[in-house]
């Protein structure tokens, strides 16, 4: 399987964008060798701002830069980018619809060693709840590159959630990324699985397991949590016996809430694979955490079987 590191690809894409557009500026909260903004710093030192470990100031400062026509990308771990700077994002950036891109790195449980303080289970809920915000989660490196380019071209506030660890290459090279659009990743006829981020690859593996049990699963990558194309999501569920959602995020306020809202009253059984209202914790490996929190292909397959049983 061809593995890609989304952080690495994000960092390289920022340099591409910086080469093409002199208005691209990058702000960093002292994690540049982890978020991989270090490449942009080397290429464009005058458009790179080390903001120290001060995410609140970084976010508002980015708002100020955007008010002079710059396109700022703020960078930190997702738990700080979205959580520590929540009020700055809400008040200073989203209220006036400023053109600031907040990039939350090492999201979900992906920073497995650092534990609960550095893992975020609620960033998508926080960001989705803010009016004017766009919320995106790429499923691999290819989509990360396309998404990064798309948000630079879009005028308005965006939150993009990146994972720390390698991901299998899934997103077609020849497919355009469009904000709001869900992407069909695998065709199937019995159950539709809506997934985002790292869980898209897990859902695809789960679809293989389900196929062995005689259940045909359609897998859809919902990389845009906000806005969502409701009619496209409904079309993907047409004729299905049930729905599964899969996300590396709390059951509160993330993909499961998007899907449950869209399919309210539809009568389709919906099973959700998510973090059940718990904080993360340290572990020796990412996979240990995915197992502990019920986020493996096996868990998704069990949800598929339940959804298909209607």
């Amino acid at each position: 399987m061809n593995l890609q590191n989304p952080r690495e690809i994000y960092g390289r894409t920022l340099v591409e964008l910086g080469t093409e557009n002199p208005n691209i500026v990058v702000l960093e909260g002292d994690l540049g060798k982890s978020t991989m903004t270090c490449y942009f710093e080397q290429a464009f030192p005058n458009r790179f701002f080390e903001m120290g470990i001060a995410e609140a100031n970084m976010t508002s400062f980015a708002g100020g830069l955007s008010l002079t026509g710059k396109i700022p990308f703020t960078n930190s771990f997702a738990v700080f980018a979205a959580g520590r700077a929540y009020d700055q994002i809400r008040q200073g950036v989203c209220l006036p619809k400023l053109n600031v891109k907040v990039v939350g790195s090492s999201a979900g449980l992906s920073d497995f060693g650092d534990g609960s303080t550095h893992q975020t289970v609620e960033d998508l809920a926080l960001m989705r709840a803010i009016p004017n915000m766009t919320v995106l989660v790429p499923c691999d490196g290819t989509e990360t590159r396309k998404m990064t380019r798309a948000i630079a071209a879009y005028h308005g506030p965006v939150y993009m959630r990146l994972t720390r660890n390698d991901m299998p290459a899934l997103f077609p090279e020849n497919e355009e990324f469009v904000i709001g659009k869900p992407y069909l990743m695998r065709e199937g006829t019995d159950v539709v699985a809506f997934a985002c981020g790292q869980m898209v690859s897990k859902a695809l593996e789960a679809a293989d397991l389900a196929a062995e049990r005689g259940i045909s699963v359609r897998v859809v990558n919902v990389s845009s949590l906000k806005p969502v194309d409701e009619s496209a999501l409904k079309a993907f569920a047409r004729g299905m016996r049930g729905i599964v959602t899969a996300e590396e995020h709390s059951i509160m306020g993330g993909l499961s809430c998007v899907i449950n809202y869209v399919f309210r009253g539809s009568g389709l059984r919906t099973e959700c694979v998510a973090i059940m209202d718990r904080f993360g914790q340290s572990a020796a490996s990412y996979n240990d955490l995915l197992e502990e929190y019920g986020l493996t292909p096996r868990h998704i397959c069990a949800a598929i079987e339940r959804a298909a049983s209607q």
Partner: protein, 282 residues
């Protein structure tokens, strides 16, 4: 007075400042809550900025080479609304619709609704960071514009102020001029008693800022300090303006309860009478 010219005439600026205060009082009206205390303490230096110092154009609020004005203490929006209205950024009639449903003039400055407002402030502590970001962007573009940012002294309790102070000094943002409205009062009493920011001058100096301290109601001192700030290179500047809350409204001066206070009909009429008179109040 609808379209006053920029001036260095002290007497004229004092007259404008008095009209600004009258606008503030009339915007709030009797029997209504309004942040007129902190709006009036800022009235003189806000007048000096809008009517003497800053380059701006009410016919072209987005003029790229304008100087920027940010009210980090966004609850004092009334003073900025009065200055913008006097300049003709929007009709004076808008002042009467303040804080009503669908109004241009919100309780705190809103860039999306109000011409001349540069950013959304009101969640305290964020305006200086926004100002610094603007200053950095203007510097990248090689523009000579300055960014003026008004801070409250109660606001200095917000940690983000000091994050911004560090950033401005680190990046040598000499195009940032902060003005601290040191009226000495927070919502429920004296700042130095309830939650002291003192010594304010030493703190800013220690953070690498050029510091001046003035009487914030002396128009000559205000103009001189703004001019002196222009001569300082390589560091951000702050002017600590010693002021009196609700300055110009005799019954409310220096009283914390008028931070977001209510005037009786009698008090309202007295305030209007004093501010409409030709006697100098500053």
């Amino acid at each position: 007075m609808n379209h006053p010219a920029q001036t260095r005439d002290i007497a004229q600026l004092r007259r404008i400042a008095r009209k600004i205060r009258l606008d503030i009082v009339q915007m709030v009206g009797p029997g209504q809550k309004g942040h007129f205390g902190g709006s009036c303490s800022s009235a003189d230096f806000v007048t000096a900025l809008y009517f003497s110092k800053m380059r701006h154009d009410p016919k072209n609020p987005a003029w790229e080479d304008r100087d920027r004005f940010l009210l980090s203490k966004g609850h004092s929006a009334l003073v900025q609304y009065a200055a913008l209205a006097e300049w003709g950024y929007f009709p004076m009639e808008e002042l009467k619709r303040l804080k009503t449903l669908g109004a241009m003039l919100q309780g705190h400055p809103d860039k999306l609704t109000t011409p001349g407002v540069e950013a959304n402030t009101g969640s305290l502590g964020q305006g200086l960071s926004l100002a610094c970001g603007m200053a950095a962007g203007l510097r990248i573009d090689g523009r000579g514009s300055k960014v003026y940012c008004v801070l409250g002294d109660g606001e200095l309790a917000e940690g983000q102020i000091w994050e911004a102070a560090m950033a401005a000094a680190h990046y040598k943002l000499e195009n940032v001029v902060a003005i601290l409205d040191r009226n000495g009062l927070m919502t429920n009493g004296l700042t130095d008693v309830r939650y002291s920011p003192s010594p304010v001058d030493k703190k800013w100096a220690a953070f690498g800022w050029h510091v001046q301290e003035i009487n914030g109601h002396d128009m000559r001192e205000i103009l001189d300090a703004l001019d002196r700030a222009d001569t300082v290179r390589g560091q951000p500047k702050i002017i600590i303006a010693r002021t009196v809350k609700a300055s110009g409204i005799p019954f409310a001066e220096g009283r914390a309860e008028f931070h977001n206070g209510i005037m009786t009909v009698e008090q309202y009429e007295e305030a209007c009478r004093v501010l409409a008179s030709e006697e100098a109040v500053s």
